[in-house]
Amino acid sequence: MEYPEIDAYSSMDSPIHRFDPRAKIVSFTFLIFSLVFVNDIRVAFSGLVFSFFILLVSRLPPGFALKRIRMVFFFLFPLLLVMPLTVEGREIANISGISVTLDGLIFASLIIMRALAAVTLALTMLATTRFDMTMKTLYALKIPGTLVQMLMFTYRYIFVITDEFSRMWESMECKGFSLKANYHGLSIFGNMLGMIIIKSYDRTRRVYESMVSKGYSGRPRTLVHLKMSAKDYVLSTCMVGIAIFVHAYQFI
């Protein structure tokens, strides 16, 4: 089974890879929030183009990035079908008495472009930094420990659970099971998911015991060595500048 390794290409070399993790997280987050609050479709489109430009600069393999972005697009695609029918505005067509509006189409495109820009930036940010470094950076940025621990354990154990799922699936296939969309198939699949949850719960207890036996008292601490260089300051200033500009340009 394929592992969902977000940082599989973090050892590559590019200006984005070399960007200090703290500066990267702060400036990318700033830019993401800025782009998702854009109301003008032309600015949203420019934001999307800019996020793809950043992705290009990061030299991440296109297949790796597009596969993930495509999944988000499929999730958002229904908006293009629903919103022109539900948002009031200028009518561009009428199908059996149901009006299709231009405003609905623009609004759906705006949402999709904003979301794709945000996902592309988030993906670039996470994929160009080792995951452990991202976690350490979040600690360094004083993000609440509980949140970081949840992220950290999710990432660590998703591989273990994937393996467990894979073993159970193989075992079921060895006994002649093949998933069909009928009551029996779905009921077996449901039981299997239930078993995964029970196993995960048991594992949680054992992991916690192991943590306590190493002195864990609710606040894991890590060692992190980060140093900002002049390049990092310049790059983050540019990105934050762009994030501000997309909202402030109309006042200039």
Partner: protein
């Protein structure tokens, strides 16, 4: 001799009321290597969780180097007793090998330089130098086991508790792991307490054996324990293959004061015996031999054919 671990009247029940441990009492001395054997569900892991205070407020008295475990600070507890659990995936919960091995020392409040020194030392002891930046899910099972051990060694515990250290390892990893634990005891003076079913590895890792089956059923040298076949039968245990083979050789008239427990010991004993009998071993078969062999086989093969 200094008492490393002293347990008296220890009891433990699960939340549903099932008794897991009953009136446990034992003493383990500094520098000893002790193996705890017992069937599945005998309470070995639960017992180990008491030894470094993971189970808080024990019902009974657990003392580590004379101090009550429940009165000790976390930093002291983890410095005195380190526990390596059976499944390494339960113990490697941090993003990288370095973070996992550094987890204990950081919690002990050591400074960065000391933490890094300890991580390097622990990884070098388990033969995994250069693995610091690796992520746990990309390691082999044997490597994960060794990182899990390093993550405890970095706390430099005086007592090392291992739960099934050789389970699921390939023969080479198993041999490496046994020799590593042996070295830690003999070279570094670490007291080792091990739970294991691997009876063929046990003689190397045990000066003394405790048989635990919710309560302490027996205590003695490996030879004493393995000689008592009814004890083994009652507690679903077995003796090392070499020991059983020499029991059969006894039936054929082979005489030895101490029956060997391991392959190395067997070679030594055989060589000594042959040298002491002018280069020959005399084996014979009489009418009663078959009966004796059959008795030995029945005694030590009690797991087979559904016999109990």
């Amino acid at each position: 001799m200094v008492e490393a671990i002293k347990v008296e009247d220890l009891n433990y029940s699960y939340s549903d009321g099932t008794k897991a441990l009953e009136d446990i009492g034992l003493t383990i001395y500094e520098g000893e290597k002790v193996v705890v054997v017992g069937p599945n569900g005998a309470g070995k892991t639960t017992f180990f969780l008491h030894l470094n205070g993971t189970i808080k407020n024990p019902q009974g008295d657990v003392r580590v180097f004379g101090k009550r475990i429940s009165d000790m600070k976390i930093e002291d507890r983890i410095h005195q007793v380190g526990v390596v659990f059976q499944d390494p995936d339960d113990q490697l919960f941090m993003p990288t090998v370095f973070d996992d091995v550094a987890f204990g020392p950081i919690n002990m409040g050591l400074d960065e330089e000391e933490v890094e020194k300890r991580v390097n030392k622990a990884l070098s002891k388990v033969g995994l130098e250069g693995f610091e930046k690796k992520v746990s899910h990309n390691l082999s099972y044997g490597q994960k086991k060794r990182v899990a051990l390093a993550a405890v060694l970095s706390m430099e515990p005086k007592v090392l508790v291992l739960d099934e250290p050789t389970a699921n390892l390939d023969p080479k990893s198993r041999a490496d792991f046994i020799s590593l634990i042996s070295d830690l005891n003999e070279r570094d003076g670490i007291t080792t307490i091990i739970a294991m079913h691997d009876v063929n590895a046990l003689p190397t890792l045990a000066d003394r054996v405790y048989v635990l089956n919710k309560r302490i059923v027996a205590e003695g040298s490996p030879r004493d324990i393995f000689s008592d076949w009814s004890l083994l039968k009652d507690n679903s245990l077995e003796a090392p293959d070499v020991f059983k083979l020499f029991k059969v050789l006894n039936c054929f008239g082979y005489s030895s004061d101490d029956l060997p427990l391991s392959f190395d010991e067997a070679v030594e004993v055989l060589t000594r015996t042959i040298e002491g009998t002018e280069g020959h071993i005399h084996l014979h078969i009489h009418e009663h031999t078959h009966k004796e062999i059959s008795h030995v086989m029945d005694s030590y093969n009690h797991h087979r054919n559904g016999k109990k």
